[in-house]
Amino acid sequence: MLPCLRHASLGAGVLALALAAAAPAHADLIYVLNSTDPSIVKIDTRTGEEVQRIDSLREVHHLVLSPDRKELLIADSSGNEILFVEPATGTVLRRERISNPYHLDFTPDGRLLVVASLRRGQVDIYDANGPRLLDRFRAGNKPSHIAFSPDSRFAYITIQGDGTVMAIDLQERRILWQANVGPEPAGILWHRGRLIIGIMGRDYFAVMNPETRQVESTIRVGRGAHTVFASPDGKTLWATSRVQSRIAEIEPDTLQVRRIHEVPGGPDCIAFAPDGAVWATLRWAGRIARLDPASGEVSTIRVGRSPHGIFVQPRAIQ
């Protein structure tokens, strides 16, 4: 009757047992942003237990590690602030007033912080050391996710409500172009000279050439294609589909789907643990999933309502 409920409670039990039995030599910390709770929870992967909860926020969606890896920036869109958290301890170091931050990322050279404001239709460019607002661009209906060219010259933003991708020249501070890509584009990734874009209104990721602005091919993963992440070793691209509830392994050279994992609950953002596990937030199930790429086993942990952003902080060996 309630398949996701049954799966989740079983999964949670299995995970707790597995974690207790395995008792790895080191335990990582996982930060999860519960967007409608709203709260940030910190999970100890050794026990699967919540070890810290930061409350009194409004609507946390995305997070990013600072270039020096000393601060975790957590964007609270309705709260109009970014929290700066020490990733090793979970201590809130400071809170900065920022206009409606939804998705955010640093340029690869670490000099700029780009913030997309989904509900206010703007993209803001900040000096990464402030953050101090340098420029604001009107960006249409629902600017969503951000990617950069490796030389930090260009930012690419999906505009969810318009079905387009926008390119901003960060050096000249101007909008270069805007190109149609498909209904409700969401996640975006720069990959070997191409942009891979999740088309949420369809069942595929679009592969766009930013030079020609043409979609050259598509990668079918399942309905509601959402976000895509490169594994730290570069050997796999991991893509989620929220409607069909799938996580897909994609071969980075050929962009062929290598394997599909059925993960009920609307998988969204992904983070990678040093032990190779893939952690994903399940937006509709209030849980995070741990996917073992070797065995394909999936287990879950209860975290809060509508979990979105996720980050794994490796811990030193104990």
Partner: protein, 315 residues
């Protein structure tokens, strides 16, 4: 226990969304409002829970100590329709989509001026550490806002024309709380939402806050012979306190006991009536009969016509 309920609520919300709503959104290229729709399902389930809690609390008390016998069940049925429409139906759905869009636009305009709206916690950072105190402060501020909205409903001609639908009920029960004209509901939502936005009510606390306020409001409308005593009457709105407000002598600008939760506002602004033994007859003697006994549609239409024909403000 709360965690268990919260988890159950989350899972049920997710299941309804995934099984029924998301496929429709996907098929109609509306995936970009998925978040709003999830919140609507969340809200609707919470509202159903709120109605059940209200019924469990109020119905036995109405049966045990009624102020008056039930003689007009049809009028009560109309009030039940009001409740279902207000809490579960199309109005909250529209509010989630339209108000969210309006809010975004307003915030966008504000953002362009460089202004970033503050929250209570950003003004008083220590409140981050004491969410219970923050919650109480939110309740007090919102209740203060509700007191003044209610006073204006009684003193502005066109607004009273709408609000008199609420007062026309002669067979008051806890269902009467939601007996309001749609336009009155929209204004109330904007009023409440604006204040909540200005002080930055946390989304986590919003459902609890609504549940609490609606429970007290429904309870205060109950057909219950109950006073909270000399001190209690001054701390929290009781069925007796609010029945005086619905009395036939308390219509329009002659209103008394406007408070929704805390009578202190009436006390402070000299509109309180603490005569404890008084359980007056309710209704609006000046309202047309259709406002008291007509169906939902008739009342909405008559209320609208009266609003259009209302005279100038009589402050």
């Amino acid at each position: 226990m709360f965690k268990l309920f919260d988890d159950w609520h989350t899972q049920l919300t997710g299941w309804i969304f995934e099984a029924f709503l998301q496929p429709v959104l996907y098929a109609t290229d509306l995936m970009n409002i998925a978040d709003e729709m999830l919140e609507w399902v969340d809200f609707t389930l919470f509202s159903i829970f709120g109605i059940i809690v209200t019924y469990i609390v109020c119905r036995p008390l109405e049966a045990w100590r009624p102020v008056e016998p039930v003689t007009d069940r049809r009028a009560i049925r109309t009030d039940i329709i009001y409740t279902l429409l207000a809490r579960l139906g199309i109005f909250p759905l529209l509010a989630f989509i339209l108000l969210a869009a309006i809010q975004s636009r307003l915030e966008g305009m504000l953002a362009d001026t460089g202004f970033v709206s503050p929250t209570l916690e950003s003004i008083f950072p220590f409140l981050h550490q004491v969410p219970l105190l923050t919650f109480f402060i939110y309740v007090v501020i919102l209740d203060f806002g509700e007191y003044w909205r209610h006073r204006l409903q009684h003193s502005i001609g066109w607004w009273w024309a709408l609000h008199s639908i609420h007062h026309a009920q002669r067979q008051m029960t806890f269902w009467t709380d939601d007996r309001n004209h749609i336009l009155d509901e929209v204004i109330a939502a904007l009023w409440f939402g604006t204040i909540a936005l200005l002080i930055g009510v946390s989304p986590a606390q919003f459902p609890l806050l609504l549940l609490l306020m609606r429970l007290v409001e429904a309870f205060s409308h109950g057909n219950i012979r109950l006073s909270f005593g000399r001190i209690g009457e001054r701390l929290l709105v009781s069925p007796r306190f609010h029945r005086v407000h619905h009395g036939v002598l308390s219509v329009a600008e002659h209103g008394r006991n406007y408070a929704v939760l805390f009578p202190v506002w009436d006390w402070m602004f000299l509109t309180a009536d603490f005569s404890r033994q008084d359980y007056p007859r309710t209704g609006d003697p000046e309202a047309p009969e259709s406002l008291a006994t007509g169906g939902w549609l008739v009342q909405q239409w008559v209320g609208f016509k009266r609003m259009m024909g209302a005279g100038k403000p009589s402050l």
